[in-house]
């Protein structure tokens, strides 16, 4: 299990440079990819997320840890085929709302959610209303997550919700929203079921919703 401890430590320290070698060594030593994720990568990202939430770690630390995890997943995903695939807890469609080009927070949510076993469909930035609708119809997610950084583009979120309602898919999904100017009051005002202060909190809320 020492190798899993090393992978855990590399994740919490954001040591993406050594991660590929560590993960390959773990696989070569017989560790199952699912165990590498569930016993090392995911709990490490939870620790990083919790420390970010308490202010013990900062955005650069989160980004380095996310990069370390993405490096690990880059090694592991091709190794998982067919029924050995990572057990997915659900599907999340995520995008930065129409008119907004910012994505750091969104990308952190993606990393944290994937670390918790979600399949995440990233629609990118400045996502049009119809693109979210099409993604829901194609991927049939449990959760649709809106990310927004600008106070001014929050005004587009009700339009996004209306587009989903008009397409008849709103009742099939839970909505999530996050970003610098977003508050729980805002989420409640528009009937958005999931709100979190940060990426780690978002992943935890996703787990609550699908459990």
């Amino acid at each position: 299990m020492a190798i899993l401890d090393d992978i855990y430590k590399a994740t919490t320290e954001g040591n993406y440079k050594d991660m590929e070698e560590l993960v390959k060594a773990a696989v070569d030593s017989g560790e199952h990819p699912n165990d590498i994720v569930n016993k090392a990568l995911s709990p490490a990202m939870i620790e990083v997320g919790d420390k970010f939430g308490t202010g013990e770690l900062y955005m650069p630390d989160m980004l380095l840890s996310a990069k370390a995890m993405q490096t690990a997943m880059g090694v592991l995903k091709p190794l998982l085929k067919g029924d050995e695939a990572l057990v997915e807890k659900g599907t999340v469609v995520i995008g930065t709302v129409k008119g907004d080009l910012h994505d750091i927070g969104k990308n952190l949510v993606i990393t944290m959610a994937e670390g918790q076993g979600f399949h995440v469909v990233d629609l990118g930035i400045d996502v049009d209303y119809q693109k979210f609708v099409d993604a829901v119809k194609e991927h049939k997610p449990q959760i649709v997550a809106f990310s927004g950084l600008l106070t001014t583009t929050l005004a587009n979120i009700p339009e996004h919700i209306k587009a989903l309602e008009d397409a008849g898919v709103r009742s099939e999904i839970k909505l999530a929203v996050g970003g610098a100017p977003v508050t729980r009051d805002f989420a409640d005002r528009y009937g958005i079921e999931i709100y979190a202060d940060d990426a780690s909190g978002a992943a935890k809320e996703f787990l609550k919703v699908i459990s």
């Binding site: 202010g55 900062y58 650069p60 600008l150 001014t152």
Partner: protein
């Protein structure tokens, strides 16, 4: 409260020394859409008329750019000083420039870094600086130079390289990032020193920026700040002080953990004072830092100015007048007032501050403004 002061400059400097003021000094900032709304309301023709009506106590000396052409491309994107490009992104009620081409993105080794577009501080016409500064001083204003986008290493370099990459560069001490940072420092240091030297002691404040905080807390650790930022800012602050000016830093977000060190290395004015967390509230900051720094801004553009009533705004102004009866705060919005904010809230702020010109005399409408030369890289954000 003092008797009516003879000039804006007298008011500002008296408040900075905490010797009292006739009315609290103010400094306005608004998006172009907000400023146009204000101008339309009063029938004003330019920004100078608007600043006079609002009672803004500050004016800026800005030497014209004379360097290589900053191009506009067929897709509508506009070039910045380091070769990055911006396009205006439209949203309901306004637009904001966003980076759409980042020339330094993904460059990990120095040998791959193209420095041919690094700007030079010689690329400005300084010949009118002293005349312009003298005119503003004679007209009674507190004279400033620079913008929130000067220095501004995290945001400024991110626009040309990507925010995620820059934040990780700070941890990795990436040599490409450090080279760009040094070039940016030399450019803005040189630009501001040239202006200060030419102005011959007529500049009161030198403005720069660094968004060290975000909505939840500091963007970086104190250790990273000390390693990469403090030495440069100390050198810059020392230079500004050597010309008799005060230093002013625009810092968005929750930045209070950095203030002790910033005061130590020579920061005089903390611009923005965004109340994103309780610790960054103006009252808490006053308790913690007392008379060791001057605050500027603090009226929340994300809450009362945007979503509150005019009574909410007046109440917040009154609170600040009570906290700073002898000076120490230059009142204004915590950032550019954002599009969609109600006009009555903006006017309520300046009316309660005592700076708003209620009866506008005819001569105001004859005041000429500076020519709008389009996107000004130095004032970009």
């Amino acid at each position: 409260m003092q008797d009516r002061m003879t000039s804006s400059r007298e008011r500002v400097l008296s408040a900075c020394l905490r010797k009292g003021y006739d009315r609290i000094p103010i400094k306005h900032e608004g998006t172009p859409e907000i400023n146009q709304m204000i101008k339309d309301h009063f029938g004003l023709k330019n920004d100078e008329q608007m600043l006079l009506v609002l009672g803004d106590d500050f004016r800026y000396v800005e030497p014209p750019y004379t360097g290589p052409e900053l191009k506009t491309f067929p897709d509508g994107s506009m070039e910045g000083y380091f070769g990055e490009r911006y396009k205006y992104v439209q949203f309901e009620g306004g637009r904001y420039p966003e980076p759409v081409y980042q020339p330094f993105a993904g460059i990990r080794q120095l040998k791959d870094l193209d420095i041919s577009h690094f700007p030079k501080s010689e690329w400005f016409d300084y010949s009118q600086v002293q005349k312009d500064a003298r005119t503003l001083r004679d007209n009674g204003f507190a004279v400033c130079i620079g913008t929130a986008g000067d220095m501004d290493f995290i945001n400024g370099i991110s626009r040309a390289r990507g925010m995620e990459e820059v934040l990780m560069d700070l941890m990795d001490d990436n040599p490409v990032f450090l080279k760009i940072m040094e070039a940016r420092f030399e450019f803005y240091y040189g630009l501001q020193e040239n202006i200060l030297r030419e102005a011959g002691g007529l500049i009161d404040f030198a403005h720069a920026g660094e968004d060290l905080g975000n909505q939840r807390g500091p963007m970086i650790s104190l250790e990273v700040f000390e390693r990469h930022f403090a030495p440069k800012y100390k050198k810059y602050f020392d230079m500004v002080h050597s010309y008799g000016a005060r230093t002013m830093m625009h810092m968005c977000g929750t930045i209070w953990p950095f203030l002790e060190r910033l005061i130590e290395i020579g920061l005089d004015v903390y611009d923005v004072v965004q109340p994103t967390t309780p610790e960054n509230d103006i009252g808490e900051l006053k308790k913690r830092f007392g008379n060791r720094i001057i605050f500027q801004g603090s009226m929340d553009v994300q809450n009362e100015l945007a979503w509150g009533t005019d009574e909410d705004v007046r109440s917040q102004v009154k609170r600040r007048l009570g906290l700073f009866p002898e000076g120490g705060l230059i009142l204004g919005p915590s950032h550019a007032v954002q599009s969609g904010s109600p006009l009555e809230n903006i006017l309520a702020m300046y009316r309660e501050a005592g700076s708003l010109m209620e009866d506008i005399p005819g001569w105001i409408y004859d005041i000429k403004g500076t020519e709008d030369t389009g996107l000004n890289m130095s004032k970009l954000f």
